[in-house]
């Protein structure tokens, strides 16, 4: 299998640096190129792992106060009356800088995959532990600004394990965790229109099997490492319960 795509082109896509048309063209190519699919999955995986570098080293509190003292120490200029005006103006500028800088550059699928991965990694991922849908569903009431139905999973090969309240694109979302044998599958439910709706290219690049659809006001994501067919069947059950 040959692929002419450059390493930097793949990286630009994964880093959110491809422009709209470039990204769309790349996604089309990605859908048919196993080389790129594998490379992109690898890049995303490394990206996820390396995010842990962010909060790796905690600054000593003493250092913070030392620096504060140092800033205050040099003789200050007067003109205090001007300061609140200028400070406000600067904070607005700073807020703009920070918002742009910290804007998550990954698509909604990467967040979905991260939420699923963090549930897998956690020893106790549930806010509500129950296999009973009549317990799990009401638990979400008042915690998320919408409601949804959980299908009866008895006899389907799937088992409801529990749920938790999460944020997807800064919006409250429900995450249900469903077991199937050794596999764990996440179902994420959020108000439709939160983040960009996943485009033609689904979440295949996340390294998981995925399904997503919209039903009225809600958008559903199903994600897991179970067989593609198992994801689809679970998606079907949930879709039926909510249509």
């Amino acid at each position: 299998m040959q692929c002419e795509m450059t390493e930097t082109a793949r990286a630009a896509y994964v880093d959110g640096e491809s422009s709209g048309p470039d990204a769309a063209a790349f996604e089309l190519h990605l859908a048919t190129c196993p080389v790129c699919a594998a490379q992109v999955a690898l890049l995303l995986r490394m990206k996820r792992e390396m995010r842990a570098a962010r909060g790796r080293y905690a600054a000593p509190a003493a250092l913070r106060s030392t620096i504060r003292r140092q800033i205050a120490a040099d003789t200050g200029k007067p003109a205090r009356w001007l300061w609140p005006v200028l400070a406000t103006a600067c904070l607005v500028v700073l807020a703009a800088v920070l918002t742009v800088g910290f804007e998550p550059r990954q698509g909604v699928w990467n967040e979905v995959a991260d939420l699923h991965a963090s549930a897998l990694a956690s020893t106790n991922p549930y806010d509500v532990v129950s296999s009973d849908r009549h317990t799990v569903k009401p638990w979400f009431q008042g915690k998320i600004p919408f409601s949804f139905n959980i299908p009866e999973l008895g006899g389907t090969g799937y088992a409801l394990l529990g749920g938790r309240m999460v944020y997807l694109k800064q919006e409250p979302a429900a995450q249900l965790i469903v077991g199937m044998g050794q596999h764990r599958i996440s179902v994420l439910i959020v108000r439709a229109g939160v983040g960009a709706d996943p485009a033609m290219f689904g979440g295949g690049h996340t390294g998981f099997h995925t399904e997503s659809w919209r039903e009225g006001e809600l958008r559903f994501y199903v994600v897991g490492d179970a067989e593609e067919d198992a994801i689809r069947r679970l998606a079907e059950l949930i879709r039926k319960a909510n249509s």
Binding site: M1, Q2, T6, A38, W83, G101, R105, G207
Partner: protein, 182 residues
Amino acid sequence: MEREQFEQLTMPLFDQLYNFAHWLSQNRADAEDLVQETYAKALKGWKSFEEGTNLRAWMYRILRNTFLTSKSGLKALATMQLDEEEVGATGVLTHGSTPELLLLQQESHDAMLEALAGLPVIYREVVLLCEAEEMSYREIAQVVAIPVGTVMSRLARGRRMLREALTARVSSGATEARHDAV
């Protein structure tokens, strides 16, 4: 007045700057000095900071320049082979790398971060700015004062080195395990 404004604007960056300083210097004492010096320099240069330009990139830039001109920074640069080519990121890949992906899946966060700590400093910094700080290529270019194209090739090379380090680690681990079995 300036001082208060400076503090209001720059202290929110303190935790991240420290984290970055620690990643660069690889030890706590140096990281503390580095952050302290960065703030001192930034305060001194505050008048030259142009409002509306990227404050975060400005602070990171002072920090990384301070590090690279410090004793430990110069040492880190000197131990690096200086013939590292900055092209070569256009290499065409002819094999699917699924086995590599599987290998990496067995690796933990810690292994990844360890490999990151082992990268030569000029690759470590761009990878960190991209992955940990989530800066855009343009912002990284401002911090490191290199063209965006060079950001991209350093990033590609840094990532390649990380993968090589992890793959080497996994395969040597596998060899040991086989020896144990015998």
